[in-house]
């Protein structure tokens, strides 16, 4: 187990990297490559800082939902990060790239809860009942660790690489959707630069969402009506460049655009 001093130092490194937009050395140098609990403690310290500085939590993101990515990082489960109000953007809003370090984009489905979930043994049907609607979304991920040189503890400590979420404006009920087989295409200048489907996210985006909800409630954190859950990528992520627009189309859910301002 890493010492508290190292956990605090790791948290400070990541905060400084975010504030200065200068990526830091891998966090695993301080807390090791395998101690996921220590990594969540680092994330937790920075969450307390965020709340103390007035940021408001609006939900969670789920990461590492692709089997291939889990294998690459040597884990057999997803990870999560916290979403704050200042990370949430509407369709086609300008993204200021100077606020980011090495952004990448991925297309996913956002679920918005219509009621609270408090019990840790929440079932799939209770989860479906609690979801008010789904939205097409682009997650902008960023690594505060230099050159995306990350192992599992680096990304968990770094709020699961969360940066921004661009949400579409076409809410859909679950009954209208084929969450498992819905096609996903991420377009840039008309070219499909990443494609996938719902089942790329742990077999079904609701599987990832159930994991998250059970994880949080078992840690004593309830989910609230209005919370947004970014359920995980439906295909590979793509590097985002200044001056470029990325459009995600998800079959049945519509489309959403992330516009990166020119430098």
């Amino acid at each position: 187990m890493s010492e508290n001093a190292e956990i605090a130092e790791a948290a400070e490194l990541l905060r400084t990297a975010q504030e200065t937009r200068k990526a830091c050395a891998p966090i695993r140098d301080l807390i090791g490559e395998t101690d996921i609990d220590a990594a969540y403690k680092v994330q937790g310290i920075n969450h307390e800082h965020a709340l103390a500085s007035g940021r408001r939590q609006v939900g969670y993101k789920i990461g590492l939902t692709a089997k291939a990515v889990q294998k690459q990082l040597g884990v057999d489960q997803p990870d999560y990060g916290v979403l704050y109000a200042d990370m949430m953007l509407g369709d086609t809003s300008d993204i200021d790239t100077s606020q980011l370090i090495a952004p990448k984009v991925e297309a996913e489905i956002a679920f918005v809860l219509g009621r609270d979930i408090a019990h840790a043994d929440v079932t799939i049907t209770e989860l479906m009942d609690a979801i008010d609607h789904a939205l097409p979304a682009i997650e902008v991920v960023d690594s505060r660790v230099k050159d995306w040189n990350i192992r599992i503890t680096d990304t968990v400590a770094d709020n699961a690489a969360g940066a921004l979420c661009v949400l579409g404006t076409t809410p859909r009920k679950l009954s209208e959707l084929d969450l498992r087989l819905c096609g996903m295409a991420m377009l840039n200048r008309g070219e499909p630069i990443a494609t996938g489907a719902g089942l790329a996210c742990l077999g079904n985006p609701l599987n990832a969402t159930l994991w998250l909800v059970q994880k949080m409630t078992s840690l004593g954190q309830s989910l609230r009506a209005g919370d947004v859950i970014m359920s995980g990528a439906l295909g590979p992520m793509a590097p985002a460049k200044s001056g470029e627009t990325y459009e995600a189309n998800i079959s049945g859910l519509g489309s959403v655009r992330a516009v990166f301002a020119g430098s």
Binding site: A185, P192, T195, G196, N249
Partner: protein
């Protein structure tokens, strides 16, 4: 011309006997049009043996496929009835050198398509659309080839399956597609990976076959190209593909 015939016989024999041959296009100094002549001549050998041309396949229509084989141009090959594998049936490894499978969308035409056409004209010529799997098997050693090699080798075509067809009364531009081996998903993608929309591949097919003086005919099958990288086949596998709104199909691989 005798070189074209010689090379056509070489790829035809390799396909017939399921044996790998060395790449030849560089040594022979082939152009792309030579390569298509070799392909046509090798198919003529098949037709002489009583096989029937049933349609064509488009190849390298997606980024993942181009990267997998290192060739960055669209290509097309001919399909014959002998290459058909039944949905729910099986195919033997003995027919192939080093086969791979990929999930595809198949069009069946109700009208001829000749030369450059718009995607709207292409759509109007479609009788129905079906989920499909193509079995590709380069006759070249180690599945290594350049553009002219692969074209001469009928674009690695060696087998195809189609699931239940349905009318194309919905947008097929972004359908989720999955290829599974023994029910485990191994490749996930979208029909959008096929040139952004599979109908673009059909329009490209009409234009490309015209360059060889051919037209697509009513009743032809056109495989639009793979949406994901291809997966290696081994005896004992059950291979299936499921496509959003189109349904699924499967086959077994035997010794």
């Amino acid at each position: 011309m005798s070189q074209i015939i010689d090379l056509a016989r070489r790829v035809d024999r390799a396909a017939q006997e399921a044996t790998a041959i060395a790449q030849f296009s560089e040594a022979a100094g082939l152009s792309v049009s030579d390569a298509y002549l070799i392909q046509a001549a090798s198919i003529a050998e098949r037709l002489k043996r009583g096989e029937r041309r049933v349609g064509i396949k488009m190849g390298l229509t997606s980024r993942s496929k181009m990267e997998q084989v290192g060739v960055h141009e669209m290509i097309w090959g001919r399909l014959t009835n002998d290459m058909y594998v039944e949905d729910g049936g099986s195919t033997s490894m003995s027919r192939y050198v080093h086969p791979r499978a990929e999930p595809e969308i198949a069009f069946i035409l109700k009208k001829d398509l000749a030369g450059p056409v718009t995607t709207a004209e292409a759509a109007a010529a479609v009788e129905c659309v079906a989920p499909a799997i193509e079995i590709i098997d380069s006759r070249f050693e180690n599945f290594k080839f350049d553009l002219c090699d692969v074209v001469a080798d009928n674009c690695s075509s060696s087998g195809y399956l189609m699931g239940p067809a349905r009318a194309m009364d919905f947008d097929i531009g972004n359908l989720g597609m999955v290829l599974s081996i023994d029910d485990q998903p191994v490749a996930v993608g979208s029909s959008a990976a096929i040139l952004g929309h599979p109908l673009r591949s059909l329009a490209a097919a009409s234009k490309m076959v015209a360059q060889s003086g051919e037209t697509l005919k009513a009743g032809d099958i056109v495989l639009a190209g793979a949406a994901t990288a291809a997966v290696e086949l081994k005896a004992g596998m059950t291979v299936s593909t499921e496509i959003q709104q189109l349904g699924s199909l499967s086959f077994k691989v035997t010794e």
